[in-house]
């Protein structure tokens, strides 16, 4: 998905009227360590999938915080769950669980 590229930002402002933090809150409830993210980008730097594509886990974390959840689940399909991001994270965020939970919650919403 080329529209997901970090360099091609669609808009530079956050529309607070449309800010949907439900998914973020649910992910944080399931994996509290996610709130410690400082967006340092270590996870993205080490990412195996990121080596092949524009897959960018830091960006996913950022846009999730902005409440833009469109296309998120589709993008996460590239993750190989290898766990390198979890190991290098300076704030000990369990990113594998975050990825699994985003997918799970989005799926739950779709089926509901």
């Amino acid at each position: 998905m080329s529209t997901f590229d970090f360099l091609k930002v669609r808009r530079l402002y956050i529309d607070y009227d449309n800010l949907d933090q439900e998914l973020l809150n649910e992910v944080i409830r399931e994996e509290p360590s996610f709130q410690w993210c400082i967006s340092c980008g270590c996870c993205t730097a080490t990412c195996s999938a990121g080596n092949h594509t524009t897959f960018n886990i830091r960006r996913i974390s950022l846009i999730l915080r902005r409440g833009e959840i469109e296309g998120l689940e589709e993008e996460l399909k590239k993750c190989m769950l290898c766990g390198k991001c979890t190991l290098v994270c300076p704030r000990d965020i369990q990113l594998r669980n975050v990825v699994m939970n985003i997918k799970k919650i989005v799926l739950k919403k779709k089926t509901a």
Binding site: S48, A49, M80, G83, D92
Partner: protein, 606 residues
């Protein structure tokens, strides 16, 4: 003199219900097995494995020898109940056969024999009487121990025992009541007719003096019969279902039926075989770290009760310590993985983006794996070793690495893992290699179990190093370290490789022996199986493991897993290196010594 009473009916109803239920259950289980498993099972009866299965069924099902090995007192408790009761039934029937000199009597006759036969006067009656009393005494001692265990588990050397659900409590109570009630009924009978032996006669003499025996005589037999009947009816719905299931499981296991990636009837049989002895609780490192709902015994209990298992399903490190400790030999890791696959089926991943790396023709491939990329010293050490050996090696995932699929498998993503497996397989097969060397146990396990690579020998780097040292291609040299070897879970318990790494380490250093090693080795706490474990818990497990190692005061802790290394390295108490790094250091030392001796030789010459 045989009177016709009615109290046998509760017992009869219970027995008929139990056997009918079991027959239906076993037939259903058999139907659900796959076609090949059915063929395996049919063929099994023609092989000699039947005898091994029979031996195991007696040793594990009746004598509980596996529990004996783990814990003497606990073993005696289980044995006295199981084997004691078994003998009570067998000898009870023998006694009736000898008395009546025929095989033609109702099967419940032996159960209430003291009632039906007030005046046993056949040859050997006294011997049988004494034997039956002795057996009852042994069982009663087991019951006493069981009650004691519920009250004070420390006596058994157990830190904890399982929690019970209401239905188990009912079954447990009726089981505990059977034998005291039998004693009561037989003693009362002995009070009247003096037809018992050392125990029942003595008690009977006391009863006749202190109690109005005629008032409670029939009642006591009724109660005894009811307790058995009630236990039999409760059995299929309580944990005691493990008694018949375990026998079925032992036979299926010996027939060579293996656990599958999906939840089938064999998995169900394994689940019901759990006797909830609680031995896995003491083996689990997470219990120490404050997690008390993921342990195998509870986990299996939740599935049986159809409770929500999501949290405990993904909150286990899959280190396999419980599987090693399990006296019933249930494949706990496989059960968990099968359920994870079932639970996370709807979550899909797709890796269409992975590109083919440049094909290379080589004999040896080195697949570093994701975790080794995070611990570059291991990668460099492997390069150093290959250089020294003069091997031409293709570093398959040097750039554009693809994961092996192991972590996905641990997360239950079987279909997604298959995509990666296919990609890697294509790459490896096209290279025409003979040997694939891996330095990560998680990759090794995935390659060994889930890949089909005909003609290629998959070798873990420690095994490869061991071969090279034995062939004399790598030097043996003492680096003067005092070392400890940590068995990685996926390598030790997962792939049963224990001795090769030890040989390599012994070649270079002084290895200290630990109590918790090989199959009982500790987990580092970062196992990729633990998906939703909080980091605090993982850190606690790591800290406890490191505290254990630190007690031995080694110079270095040696491991064979990049993930273990990375995890332990956060704790600064002991420096941690990989087995490849140790070998590389030894090579450097050896090369330096060679240079030095050449220089010295030259000096002497000049």
């Amino acid at each position: 003199m045989i009177r016709e009473p009615n109290f046998q009916y509760p017992f009869l109803i219970g027995t008929i219900f139990l056997f009918a239920y079991l027959i239906v259950r076993i037939i259903l289980w058999y139907i659900e097995l796959s076609k090949y498993d059915k063929l395996r099972f049919i063929h099994f009866w023609k092989t000699k494995s039947v005898w091994a299965a029979l031996k195991d069924a007696i040793a594990d099902g009746l004598l509980h020898s596996s529990i004996f090995k783990k814990n003497l007192l606990l073993g005696y408790m289980h044995m006295s109940l199981a084997f004691g009761w078994f003998l009570l039934i067998v000898i009870g029937h023998l006694e009736v056969m000898v008395d009546r000199r025929s095989l033609n009597f109702p099967f419940y006759y032996a159960v209430f024999y003291r009632y039906y036969q007030p005046h046993p006067d056949f040859a050997g009656a006294r011997v049988f009487g004494a034997l039956m009393d002795l057996l009852l005494l042994i069982i009663l001692s087991g019951v006493a121990l069981a009650i004691l265990k519920r009250i004070k588990k420390q006596i058994f050397g157990m830190k904890r025992t399982t929690k019970l659900k209401p239905f188990d409590k009912i079954a447990l109570t009726s089981l505990w009541l059977i034998f005291p009630l039998r004693l009561l009924a037989e003693s009362l009978s002995a009070a009247y007719y003096h037809n018992g032996s050392f125990m029942s006669n003595t008690l009977g003499a006391w009863f006749i003096q202190n109690v109005r025996v005629s008032a409670i005589y029939d009642l006591s037999w009724w109660l005894y019969s009811c307790s058995i009947g009630f236990f039999f009816i409760a059995l299929p719905f309580s944990r005691y279902m493990h008694i018949p299931t375990e026998i079925v499981f032992i036979f299926l296991r010996h027939a060579g039926i293996m656990p599958k990636k999906y939840w089938n009837s064999y998995a169900q049989i394994q689940m019901y075989s759990c006797s909830r002895c609680g031995i896995c609780l003491d083996a689990c490192q997470l219990y120490e770290a404050g997690v008390s709902n993921v342990q195998s015994v509870y986990f299996l209990q939740y599935i049986r009760n159809n409770e929500n298992v999501d949290k405990s399903l993904f909150g286990c490190l899959i280190c396999g310590r419980c599987q090693e400790a399990c006296p019933v030999h249930i494949n706990l890791n496989d059960l968990r993985t099968a359920l994870r696959i079932k639970a996370s089926k709807p979550l899909t991943f797709s890796y269409g983006y992975t590109q083919m790396a440049l094909q290379q023709k080589t004999d040896i491939i080195y697949f570093a794996g994701c975790m080794t990329h995070l611990t570059p010293p291991i990668k460099f050490s492997m390069a150093r070793i290959f250089n020294f050996l003069g091997e031409k090696v293709w570093y398959m995932d040097e750039d554009k690495s693809i994961c092996c699929g192991g972590p996905l498998m641990l997360a239950g993503q079987y279909d997604s893992a298959s995509q990666l497996i296919q990609k890697n397989t294509e790459l490896i097969m096209a290279s025409g290699a003979k040997t694939l060397i891996l330095s990560c146990p998680i990759c090794y396990k995935a390659f060994r179990e889930d890949y089909v690579l005909p003609g290629i020998s998959i070798k873990f780097h420690a095994v490869y190093l061991n071969d090279m040292i034995r062939q004399g291609r790598l030097p043996k040299i003492n680096l003067g370290f005092k070392t400890i070897y940590h068995d990685p879970c996926a390598l030790g318990r997962g792939s049963k490789i224990y001795d090769e790494p030890r040989y390599v380490i012994d070649s270079y250093s002084q290895r200290m022996r630990l109590k918790k090693e090989k199959a009982e080795a500790l987990c580092c706490g970062a196992g990729l199986g633990g998906i939703n474990l909080p980091i605090e818990t993982k850190n606690k497990v790591t800290f406890e493991a490191m505290t254990y190692f630190a007690r031995f005061k080694p110079n270095v802790l040696i491991t064979a897993c990049p993930l273990c290394k990375k995890t332990f390295a956060r704790d600064r108490r002991i420096p941690v290196i990989d087995i490849a790094e140790l070998t590389a250091r030894a090579i450097d030392e050896y090369v330096n010594e060679q240079k030095k001796s050449v220089r010295e030789a030259r000096l002497i010459e000049s």
